[in-house]
Amino acid sequence: METKEYITIDFFCRQHGIEVSVINTLHEYGLIEVMLMEEKEYLPLSELAETEKLIRLYGELAVNPEGIDVIIHLLKRIKSMQLQIQLLENRIRLYEENT
């Protein structure tokens, strides 16, 4: 079974100097996963880097949750396309080395 470690939302918000409402908003839009355990809310540690990225987009670039959703989707597409380009470059290299 997969085990996950969590961080309390209160602690996370204190560390990043943000309001808990920011996390709640991102959660409402389905952008982050929030766990409720014994009446306390937690964020999975494995999602920390991604959550920090969303907060930067929300707080620093003033992108609204819908916009963040679009950005994340497009970034995933870019990553997948970059991977595809790399594979194609490797394929080209194979043919170039043979000629």
Partner: protein, 297 residues
């Protein structure tokens, strides 16, 4: 060290209002923010420049000093003394973004004129994520075939990394927290390592599959037989079918490259037969071939 035109960096003119500066900065930040340009060193460098420009132009005190002494920045010291004599006004400061910005990356020009980030600016209190480090590592195809550990020296720090078997040429792996130190208790940056993997002269890799060619003598090709070949995973015995044609390609399932982070899974090995025509034949051999030629329809 050369003069930096912060107005040009933000694409505004010298009469720009605070609002113009804020707008220009926000617009460029949205374009160049490290979160939107992962692994783009060029965008990161530009982002740091606009942050620096904003640090100066959004702060009335710094902007005044810059406007007065900008191109004669060497006289900054005299200005500083005069300012101290008048009493230090409160810094206005502007909003700066963190992303991947490292305070140590202010330009020499900025450091010379303002002596680093000001105490009164919003940056001094804020936590900043450390700089991301980027590195390239060249390994051989044999090395990429097995999971192994490597110690790298990154900014005078030894970093031991585990390289999983099956890593792809051009693939980048991220080591969280192995980048620059965070500022004011901010998180450390990450280390990105891009792998450059060279093919072997006679073994090419495409994804998880390997391609090689094997020389086969004419008699083995015609009559069939066995052939032992060296592969990255050891020796393999091939059964050569009778009447094998030149250029015949065979697939050896599961004898290719390991699949990245999937233990026990391998791609395939494709072997192309290259049939060698005998040379320096004796008269007797030529005679026999002629005989054969007359028999073969």
């Amino acid at each position: 060290m050369s003069f930096i035109d912060y107005y040009e960096v933000l694409g505004i003119n010298k009469n720009a209002t605070e609002d113009d500066i804020k707008k220009a900065y926000r617009k460029l930040a949205r374009k160049l923010h490290p979160d939107l340009n992962p692994n783009d060193k060029n965008a990161h460098a530009k982002f740091q420049k606009i942050n620096e420009a904003n640090e100066v132009l959004s702060d009335p005190v710094k902007r005044k000093k810059y406007d007065q002494y900008g191109e004669q920045w060497e006289h900054g010291e005299e200005y500083e003394q005069a300012r101290k004599a008048q009493g230090r006004p409160k810094d206005g400061g502007g909003q700066n973004f963190s992303g991947d910005f490292d305070e140590s990356n202010f330009s020499d020009f900025f450091a010379s004129m303002f002596g680093g980030a000001s105490e009164g600016s919003s940056r001094a209190q804020a936590k900043f994520r450390g700089q991301d480090f980027h590195s390239e590592l060249a390994i051989t195809l044999e090395e990429a075939f097995t999971t192994h550990a490597r110690t790298l020296k990154i900014h005078d720090k030894n970093v031991r990394i585990n390289i999983p078997a099956g890593i792809e040429n051009g693939q980048t792996i991220k080591l969280k927290g192995f980048g620059g130190k965070g500022v004011n208790g901010g998180p450390d940056g990450d280390l990105f390592i891009k792998f450059s993997i060279s093919n072997l002269p006679n073994v090419k890799r495409l994804g998880n599959d390997l391609y090689t060619s094997v020389d086969l003598d004419l008699f083995n090709a015609i009559l069939g037989g066995e052939k032992i070949i060296e592969t990255l995973s050891g020796k393999i015995k091939l059964i050569v079918k009778p009447e094998t044609q030149n250029g015949t390609k065979i697939r050896l399932k599961g004898k290719g490259f390991p699949v990245y982070k999937k233990e026990g899974e391998f791609g395939d090995l494709f072997v192309t037969y290259h049939i060698l025509i005998p040379t320096n034949l004796t008269e007797k051999q030529i005679e026999l071939f002629k005989e054969l030629q007359n028999i073969v329809p």
